[in-house]
Symmetry: C2
Subunit: 251 residues, 2 copies
Amino acid sequence: MAAMFDIKSFSQLRAAVPRAGGMPSPCAACSVRHLALCAAMEENEVHEVAAIVTTLEISSGQPLFDEGEPAVHVFNVTSGAVKVYKLLVDGRRQMTGFLFPGDFLGLANDETYAYSAEAVGASTVCRFPRGKLEALLTKYPKMERRLLNMASHELAAAQEQMLLLGRKTAREKIASFLLMLSRRAAQRELPDDPVFVPMSRNDIGDYLGLTTETVSRTFSDLKSTGIIELLPAGKVRLARRQHLQEIAEGA
Amino acid sequence: MAAMFDIKSFSQLRAAVPRAGGMPSPCAACSVRHLALCAAMEENEVHEVAAIVTTLEISSGQPLFDEGEPAVHVFNVTSGAVKVYKLLVDGRRQMTGFLFPGDFLGLANDETYAYSAEAVGASTVCRFPRGKLEALLTKYPKMERRLLNMASHELAAAQEQMLLLGRKTAREKIASFLLMLSRRAAQRELPDDPVFVPMSRNDIGDYLGLTTETVSRTFSDLKSTGIIELLPAGKVRLARRQHLQEIAEGA
DNA sequence: CGCTACGTTGAGAACAATCAACCCCGGTGG
DNA sequence: CCACCGGGGTTGATTGTTCTCAACGTAGCG
């Protein structure tokens, strides 16, 4: 298979953010506002968000923050993808999520981040100072409600992932993973059938609790059964989606 | 080993809730208020919570709700313990959490519960109609903030559990589990060294992504190494806590 | 007083991990 | 310009941890 990740094809994940350099309000033109925290805000209120936000361009592999650092910022992904993970002392890694445009990260009860985050391919995020965001949440309870909803969604996703990690076979894990990527792409109005898989086999393994080799073998296996097709540039066609769905559910 | 669970010893989990039958405000005397959602409320405000709450006595094994049911209520555990889990179609089960007094459950973005919940031993919970609680959250933003904090804590715990499920060995899982129980008991000012383990080997297995047999073998193994001691009535002494800690962290 | 549920232990099987070789592609520097 | 190098992916052979199947003990309950 061709390299799973290259910058050119990765651009398909980038939501277009048409704005002139130095424009004061990146939020007004934000293409993922309907998915993000800011969905709670009216047109005439977003400037208050814009006032505290910094837009950052993150190049591939660059960290946003590391586990244990003081949690001074929270983030919203606006283009590209971000992976978040935890490590054991001997280096074993568990990816706890892949985040796409509109997704939120950095919530911490503690004063430090509970996980590390880094860009998968070139990405952009908007960054909020934690204190200022909290002030905004206090001023706009509907924004806080929105955040609670997002956290609650995340919690449901985390529980689904626990089911996957604890009880599914390698085959079921990969099937679930591909369908999850497809569903999330559809939500963002990106191509969801030849679905774009921007992360490496190793990253996928660390997300699903498998090794690189098992991920690779399982892809090959699903391919040889005609359930998926591996296309160039990291795209995967879900040739028999219904069958894939059944595998994912453990049927 | 003696049965891991019996009603008599289970009573140690019950926080004393001294109140006369039919008293109007169970919340005023609630012994876990400082841990629960109501921690956000002042003395003179709890009656508003009491007005919408119903206190339920749940006997061992009785369900609170099942995955997929309309999510009309949310709950706060006040005594005993509750297990929450998800199922695959063929019956494989993943426990997504064990909840103790003060813990909250039933958050659902969707209109249906994303998981099932049932009592582990006789327990009591207080039940809120979802709509009325939401109204209260709107009236008292500090309560909503409290809920967000609780959700955020849960999220961190879920991520920790993903690390466990995806990357830890059986031995590491059991060590982590025992320490988690001990920590949570300490938070509730219950005995944390001979720690009380109220759930069955099977429940533990479904929480840790292991089989009953592996759980049992691993307990035996830790015991024969002198790291833990299995006491009657489901109590476990963490004889070498530091060592257990190192195992849990993967050292 | 047997029955059932739970726990323990053993033997063997199986799924995924590990160790290893190889390919392909892209980038780099001689 | 092309050979080298390194990262990612695939595939094979073997190992090993955990699962499965099975037997048995014990405690509590009807």
